[in-house]
């Protein structure tokens, strides 16, 4: 740790701690999960950067959505995402969450993940290499530094639209809204 970092730690401890302690939800959403074990084990060792998988979403602050999202998974993803405490960051891994990828015409996968939950960054490719995850992590660090990793704020702000899209894709949701989907007061809280 050089001197520069110490001043940064003193100035904004929350930001720095968020950066260097990204605990990922372990959720095998798609085939991208095959590259996560190499990343967290000895070949690439993501723990060097503080990226560790944790057991429950309550303990996590990074959600790596690894691969295509089928409609059934989307329900689980939304529930998991809403359980995570703020601040939380989401990264879409692989081409499929971006625009459907090679499943663009499948009747059971959703095509654009960012219509349903907000995304901080994308890793394109099928399958992206493990190095791409590290690039994404370092990129996320810069975003956090510049206060641009604000997906969870956007989610709060546009919750009404997100909730509407979720209901369009999944039908009636069985859990109550996370934030009030009130009328005019929406968005003014910020």
């Amino acid at each position: 740790m050089d001197r520069n970092q110490i001043t940064k730690w003193l100035k904004a401890p929350a930001k720095m701690a968020n950066k260097y302690s990204l605990h990922a939800v372990y959720f095998c959403t798609g085939c991208g999960i095959i590259e996560v074990p190499p990343v967290i084990t000895s070949r690439w060792d993501a723990e060097r950067f503080g990226v560790v998988p944790v057991a429950t979403p309550r303990q996590a602050n990074l959600f790596l959505i690894t691969g295509y999202v089928s409609v059934k998974t989307l329900r689980a993803i939304i529930r998991t995402y809403e359980q995570m405490p703020e601040p939380k960051y989401t990264v879409g891994f692989g081409s499929c969450p971006v625009n459907g990828g090679m499943y663009w015409d499948s009747y059971n996968t959703i095509k654009h993940l960012d219509k349903y939950i907000p995304i901080d960054g994308w890793i394109a490719g099928c399958m992206p290499r493990p190095e791409a995850i590290f690039i994404a992590v370092t990129h996320l660090w810069t975003l956090i530094d510049k206060d641009m990793a604000n997906a969870y704020i956007r989610y709060r702000k546009n919750y009404k639209s997100y909730r509407r899209n979720q209901e369009l894709a999944l039908g009636k949701l069985e859990w109550p809204p996370l934030f009030p989907v009130g009328d005019e007061s929406q968005g003014n809280e910020q």
Partner: protein, 296 residues
């Protein structure tokens, strides 16, 4: 002077505990052929967790974790750390044994509010496991108390300072061995991490903790780490004349425990209890009988 010690001692214990947590991750990483996280990683995690929003599940949820943390801090005050022991004159081993129960109890109370089935399974596993290790622990402590004819832990340390460590003296080495065998169970590390098994029950009692609750739970874990190792050092490795050598002894015990942790899988709960009631209990029992026989 005592006031200062009361403040300094838990802080020191916390620092040592967190250092051990970091060291554990680093050493485990090296055994895994990895580089491993920086030593301060647990501290970074805790800072992050304190800044993160936690979700409370009711008043008992908040109070339980504080209760268990308070219980651990009180135990630290009764433990000699080198020559430093804030509450040396009052209480002793029995108080420690009693107060050590508070930590799991608090977690159980808190988890009961969580409503997650994993929590209740984790807690029942934890209670069954503690049923397993409390019996040998009690026998071990009885043997030590009988041998040195005192319940004061400071006097046990002093007696060892004047003669030899209990771990190399007959018949207490049996009890010492027994304590070392149940140490992983008290610490909740492999092969006894049944209550927090992340791959089985999503880290059990911790499943609903997030944000500052998880940070407090981690601090509590650091304290438990410190307490159980410090107790071993005090009772069997002769305590220490100063803080540095005490710390070195703790480090040695801890690294030994980590090596056990690295090469074993997790027991099933009933297997763990069966094991705990077999060898450690037998050793502790024989140790106690011989101690009593020698004394009378």
């Amino acid at each position: 002077m005592r006031i200062v010690e009361i403040i300094v001692s838990p802080l020191l214990a916390l620092v040592v505990g967190i250092f051990f947590l970091g060291l554990a991750r680093k050493i485990m990483a090296r055994i895994h052929w990895r580089y491993g996280p920086p030593l301060v990683q647990p501290l970074i995690d805790m800072i992050r967790l304190f800044y993160q929003k936690g979700v409370s599940h009711g008043r008992m949820f908040d109070l339980g974790i504080i209760l268990s943390l308070a219980g651990s801090i009180v135990v630290v005050l009764f433990l000699p750390f080198g020559q430093m022991c804030p509450l040396s004159s009052s209480g002793g081993l029995l108080v420690i044994l009693y107060m050590m129960l508070l930590a799991p109890l608090g977690l159980a109370l808190s988890g009961g509010q969580g409503g997650n089935p994993n929590i209740s399974i984790g807690i029942s596993r934890k209670l069954i496991l503690s049923l397993g290790y409390e019996a040998p622990l009690l026998l071990v402590l009885l043997a030590v108390m009988t041998r040195y004819k005192t319940i004061s832990i400071v006097e046990v340390v002093n007696a060892q300072q004047s003669t030899s460590w209990s771990i190399i003296s007959f018949p207490l080495f049996l009890s010492g061995l027994s304590y070392f065998l149940i140490l992983p169970a008290i610490l909740g590390i492999r092969p006894f991490d049944v209550s927090s098994a992340p791959q089985e029950i999503s880290s059990g009692p911790m499943a609903e903790y997030g944000g500052k609750y998880l940070a407090l739970a981690k601090i509590e874990h650091a304290f438990v780490l410190f307490i159980s190792i410090a107790l071993f050092v005090n009772l069997f490795l002769g305590g220490a004349a100063n803080i540095v050598s005490f710390f070195m002894k703790m480090l040695a015990v801890f690294v030994l425990g980590l090596c056990v942790n690295a090469v074993f899988p997790r027991f099933r709960t009933e297997q763990a209890v069966k094991y705990l009631w077999k060898w450690p209990t037998l050793l502790a029992f024989v140790g106690l009988i011989i101690t009593i026989a020698i004394r009378s």
